[in-house]
Structures are given as structure tokens and as C-alpha cells.
Amino acid sequence: MAMKQIVETKLNGEPVEFICEPRQSLLEVLRDNLGLTGSKEGCLTGDCGACSVLINGRVACSCLVLGVEAQGKEISTIEGMANGSRLHPLQQKFLEHASLQCGICTPGFLIAAKALLDRNPSPSEPDVRYALAGNLCRCTGYDKIVKAVLEAAREIRAAA
């Protein structure tokens, strides 16, 4: 077993240092080492998107990134999405539109949707479907998810 390493990151806006084995994925580090279990494990092959996080603002499957690769990076997870106890408009719209059933894919969808709206505040429906195509949901048929994202975009634009 290779030596454990110290990794310095910015996690949800705060400087965080952690120790991990080189073979641990970022997802494993987040969940098992740091107790941030909001990012979910669905496949470990990058196909389902349930473990999506933002790395320097870009969506990544944290199951395909090693923990040690987070060195010097800014990581955002679902736990950092709300502003204190005020939900992000995406979170609020997911609730209002009943966009989740079992909820296991929800953190990943919210992260991917946030990445989309951060770079494109006025997405079309095909834009949304394209941006979320890396996330699998088996419960909803996606309809209410897509509507919530479009609605959140409208609200964010109106508030800007």
C-alpha cells in the first residue's frame, strides 16, 4: 500500500486538508473520509452522474477522479449549494415541481444543472437536456427535472 498523502483543497468555499490513500477516489474521500455523503455512488464508471461535483467550476464525476487530484483545486458539492439555510433556486424549484422521487440522483442533477446555469443563464429545453444527459434518473422520466431547471433559470434571470 502506497503512503497516504496530504491534500490541500478548497471545499465548498473553505480551505480543507485531508489525508488519503492514492488509490482512493475523490468520491470515496468525500463520503468515507470527510463524511460528505450527499454525493452518491451509483456506478463507479462515470455513467450515472450521481457523484457529480464541480471541480474549479466544471462538472466531474467524483468517482473518476482520485482524491489526490483535488490538490490545489476548488471543489463544490451538494452540501455547499444552499446559501446557509436559504435554498438555491434550483433546489427550491426541484421541490416545487416534484422533480425528485427517490432522490438518489438529485444531488448530481442539481450540481450538473448549476454548472449549466452558471455558464448559460438562458438555456433552451434542448440545452438543458444536453447538459443533463450525463445524469441518469430512473424514477421521473426527466420531465419534471427539465421543467424545474428552466423555471429556476427564469427566476435567477428575473432576480438578476
Binding site: E21, R23, E28, R31, D32, G35, L36, T37, G38, S39, K40, E41, G42, C43, L44, T45, D47, C48, A50, T77, I78, E79, M81, A82, L87, Q91, F94, L95, E96, H97, A98, L100, Q101, C102, G103, I104, C105, T106, P107, L110, V128, R129, Y130, L132, A133, G134, N135, L136, C137, R138, C139, T140, G141, Y142, D143, K144, I145, V146
Partner: protein
Amino acid sequence: MAASTTPTSGEKKFRVIGTRPVRPDGVDKVTGRAKYGADYTFPGLLFGKVLRSPHAHARIKSINIEEAKKLPGVKAVVTGEHLPGLKSESDQVGEIAMNPHYLSLNIFARGKVLYDGHAVAAVAATSPHIAEEALGLIEVEYEPLPPVMTVDEAMKEDATILLPELRNKVTPGKQTNIAGYLQLKRGDVEAGFKAADFIVEREFNTAMVHQGYIEPHNAVGIYSSDGHATIYCSTQGPFEVRSMSAKVLGMEEGKIKVVPAEIGGGFGGKTTIYLEPVSVMLSKESGAPVKMVMTRSEVLRASGPTSGSKIKIKMGCTKKGEITAAQVWMAYEAGAFPGSPVNAGAMTILAPYKIENTLIDAYDVVVNRPKTAAYRAPGATNAAMASETVIDELAEKCGIDPLDFRIQNGAAEGSPQPAGPPYKRIGYIETCQALKNSPHYKSKLSGKNRGRGVATGFWFNVGFQSSAIVNIHGDGTASVVTGSPDIGGSRASMAMIAAEVLGLSVEDVRPVVTDTDSIGHTDVTGGSRVTTATGLAVFDAANDAVRQIKERAARTWERKFDEVEFVNGNAVAKGNVSGSANTPITETGVAPLSLKEIAAKAARTGGPITGRANVNVRSSGPAFAGTCVDVEVDPETGKVQILRATVTQDAGRAIHPSYVEGQMQGGTAQGLGWALNEEYFYDQNGTLRNTGFLDYRMPTCLDLPEIETVIVEVANPLHPLGVRGVGEVSIVPPPAAVANAIAHATGVRMTELPMSPPKLLKALSKPKKK
């Protein structure tokens, strides 16, 4: 097009039911705080992994675990040797027929492995990586046997036998792979076919598919030195996990507590056990809590997909479109142990229609594939692919609109069911009419290689046992406690039903799903039964609380119980004109007491107020769905694009319409995946070749259009709120609807699932025969 709700009945006025509040567990789920099975951790937690068979069928000659035990960090290694042997017998767990002998053999193989992925041994270690390494140190010597992968192979006279002790009633005393046979018969099919002007006869083959829940199976087992055990896991049926695990482990049921975690999808697949007893075995051996989580590959190889099937069907009708006879032969893959949903397939395949002459032969067949588990309306989707495409052909031959053809032959109140008493009030005709009246069906479809198809489906929906507790808190709010894991928003419905009865706002009712020690027996979250049966228990428990509230008011007023009414959340002395607590002057001269006032004084009027109910709902609320899809077929590649989709469904009564629509849309999406892409692909050695989401291809949001919904509400006469249950039936019609749309786009009738590009391309290149 926005989703619309069109109640066709439902004169009753509700205050909370039928509205769309935010679900009470929602915030935890959008913030990542909700705790799913894999999120649990405990001090000293170990991680367990399972060693699985690389062979589809082989004799186990020896297992050596000594080297694995020596690896630093390994705390326990177990095999089937550590489990008691169980007698082969038929047993019933809720709605699930279960043979403990086979259940146990599925947890750990003994003697033989029966499918690629069959569990052989398990390890617990201080990290998942060490556990994984240790698996590589377990030596298993196999003697490979010929794999039997299809019902055709398995049903041959000289077929290789999977289970040496298996017998059936038809050929008693003979070894067989046919685990069960059911015949359903009515009238005289020969005479019926003689009376027909048109007859269509076809043979269908459908592939094994998986529920595809995003959350893999998981369990944390904690064995205590006093002989008790606690299991935290994601399950649809904590009480079933308890009784099944007790059987397999040889423990008393009362010594196991199952704590249901938030569940990341199940669709029927989480109604049985895999890791749960193993985590307890490893915990007992190591003395520490043991967490186990399947990988996606393990989920696909070794949980419980649903059956692939072979179905032969012959149907006849008159020129005027009256179906005169239907004959069906169907064989479903059970997997390695008996128990495919073929009986449900047989009972549903003709259920939407009134047909005088029917004959159905159904076979449950064991093959070297994982033991199938329930999947949303188990057995009905494969069946509907056959019946609903042949009906489309008959309608075409008669020159009758396919929905009119269904309405003409459709079952209604009083029509005989294929199995069971005549239907009570059902909504099949209304469901077809709603589809016919939908903006989608009324729209014109034009363009090359495009076609429209419709299909319908039936599912029983069940009732069974549920328990509920309604606690009235001192501040006049309430909590409602049930044992039904919430898989798609049912907690919201439970809170709404309690709020409706108690006269509270839904925000003042907190729903709780609790463990097996804290609530009476509650059957699985399955069979579309939660809103029906657990909803009824909540309704009764809330009414039990109301009874107590009235008693307290009667005591306060020194009046008789019969002289007190409960109106809009207030106890009112009979004869009062107003139900408001703020109008102290009334005809009776007694001011109403609000629930809040009564709750505040509960200590002085008799103590806490807690409503309770336990129900066993023996009736069912039959449900129907209809699907319309427009497709475009690419003749170069065989790829089918879904352009538009609409689903109509009889919900009886929609408690929370958004979550009813969600069930309709989700089932439709799964049905479309089943139609176009999803299949278990085994090679000739019986090895599963698509063990990940990359090539077990489920629909993404780019593959699907908006899914339009029309909720039909034909109240279930056997339920006080009219509820029928909504979880399952929407998956039934889509494959047939897509096949019909493809036929209308290309002229080619597909008889295989999935209708994936290679299969469709092959069919398109065949010379057409009419």
C-alpha cells in the same frame, strides 16, 4: 404541452387531497442530508465484499478461505458453510411466495453455482480495498457444467437440469426445469376462432431487463453479543427483510430489527434479500458493524432482474371488430430458482378485454441467470407486448381506430376477470377515451418514416397489511408514523390524508417511516399498495385520533360523545351553526374547541392522544393505463426516436397529483427503455457481457421527449378515498405502443424486445409479407 389533470369523477370536495404541497422530506433530499443505506457509518465499521461465481453453471469442488483470513485487516470470511441448511417448502411472505431453501441458496451457493455472479463467499475488512484484495485470495475450484440460458433450451426433453430436486405437478417424479405450470381457461377457443373473420398469430421473444434503480443494494449489519441483530438497509420491505433474514440465518424473527434507510429506487427489485443476512454473518464473526454495498456490476449480475420471455399468441375477431377468441402460450425465465412472474403475465395479458373464449398456458422455467425479482407490474409488460400488438393488427384488418377497437372490446363493471370475480367499477374505457381525447392523439402526425402507436395495460394493484400511528402533539400539530418505505413521495400523501381528516394544514403533519420494532407489521412498498393500504391505515388512525378528540370535548362539556361532531379541525357540540373556534356564541351555547385547544389540555382530560390503525386490505383497485407514442425510424441505422409521448392512467383518486404524474412518467420512461434499448446480453458461456450503465443502456433525458400525462379518476368503490394505487401500470403499454408506432412508420411488425437498432435493421431488411 403542460401536464393536465382531468378528473372524470370525484364530486367529493377535499381541502388537502388533490393539492400539490412540497413533500415533507424534500429539503433533506435536495441538500444531500437524506440518509440512504450506504450513508450510514458506525464506530469500528468494517467493509464487506462478496466473492461471486465467474461461471453460469458449475459444481463447487472446494473453497479455501485460509489465505484470505491471513491478510492484515481482514476480520471475517464466511461461506455457505456458515448458514443452516433449509428444507425445500413453499412459504408466503406477504405477497411474495418464497421457498426458504432456494432463498438461502441464493444468498450463498452450496454444491453448485447457478449463474454468473452467484455469491460464493464474503469478507469483512477494515477497508473496502482490503476486502477486495482478500477476495482474490479465496481459492474456489469449479467443475464447469453446460449453461442453460433460454426457456427453449431449458424446456427440452434432454435439457441439463439445474435443480436436481425440482419437480412439477404435470410430470411428477421426473427431474425438470419447469418449476410451475398454470392454465386459465374460459369458453371454447376452437369455436371462437371458427367465428372469427380475421385471425392473427405471432410469436414474441423479450429480453431479460433490470429495474435499473440508481442506488445499488446495501446493508449494514450489527450483531450484538446478546443474540440480537440490527440491519440498516435500503429496502422496499423492512418486515420482509426481517423475516427472510431470520429464516436464512436461523434466528428468531423478533431478534432482528430492520431500519429502513432512504431508498434510492427499487421498482420491485428491493423486495428480497441479498447482502442483509451476509452483513449480519460477517458482523457476528468479526464482532463489529459491517457495511456492504454492491457495485453496479454486482447489481446487474446478481440482483433480481425481470424475466425474458417467449410468448405465442393467437387472436381472432369478426369483421365488426368483436374479439371472439384468444389463445396464449407463455414461458418466462425464472432465473436460477423458481418464481418468475409468469402467472401475473397470464392473469394480465387479456385483462383489459371481455373475451368469451380464452385459453392461456403459462410456464415458469429455471435457467442459469440470476433469480428474477419483481419489476413494476411484474410479468405484465412482456405479456402486453404480445397482446397489444396483435390487437393493433386486428384493428387494422377491421379498419377500426385502435382505441375504438379497444373501447368496443374493453372490460367494464361486471366483466369477468381472467382470474377472480367479475370487475367492480373500473376505468378502462375512461382511460382509453382520455387517450383518444388527448391533444396528442387529436394532433396530426406527418413526415417520412414516422408513425403513431397506442397500447393499453392492466395491473391488479394490491392491498394487504399496513399499520399507522397518528400522534397529536401538545401544540396541535401531528406526526404520522408508518412502516412503508417512501420510494416516490408517499410520505407526502400520508401527511395529506392525515391532514385532511384532522383538519390541519399539511405543513402541520410530519410523516415518519420507522423501523420494524416501532410499528405493526407492514407489507412491502410494492404492488402499488402504499397509498391504498397504508393510506387507509393512516385514514383510520387519524379518524381514531378524531374519536379521542371528540371524547375529550364531550368530557370537557360534560356531554354525551354522540353530541359532539368534528368539523374542519374543531370539536363542535351538535346543533352549532359554526365550526369556527372564534365564534363563541352558538345555538347550543357551547363554544367549539379547536384541535389545538384540546391538544393543549390533553394531560388534564385523559393523557396523550394517539390514533392507531392496522388494516389488511383484501380487495384490490384494478388500474389501467394507455400510452400513445409518435416515433421516427431511421431506415439507415434502425434507430428509433420517440417524438412525442402521452400517458393516461386511472388513479382512482390522485392524492398528490404531481407524484401521480411522476409515477406515470417514470413508468413510461422505463417502458420506453425496455422497448428500445435495454437487455441482458449473455455470451455462449453464460457470462453477462453488459455489466455497466454504459452498455446496459437506460434512457437519458436526451432520449426522451416531454411525457404528457392525463390523470383519470374513476374512484375505487372499495376505498374510502377512492384510491386505486398508481405505481406500476404505466410501464405496461409502452413497448407495445412503440412496436405499433414502428409498424405504422415502416410496415414491419416487431416481435422482439428490445427493438434496438440491430434488431430493427434486420427486420427492415427482410422481404415484407402481408
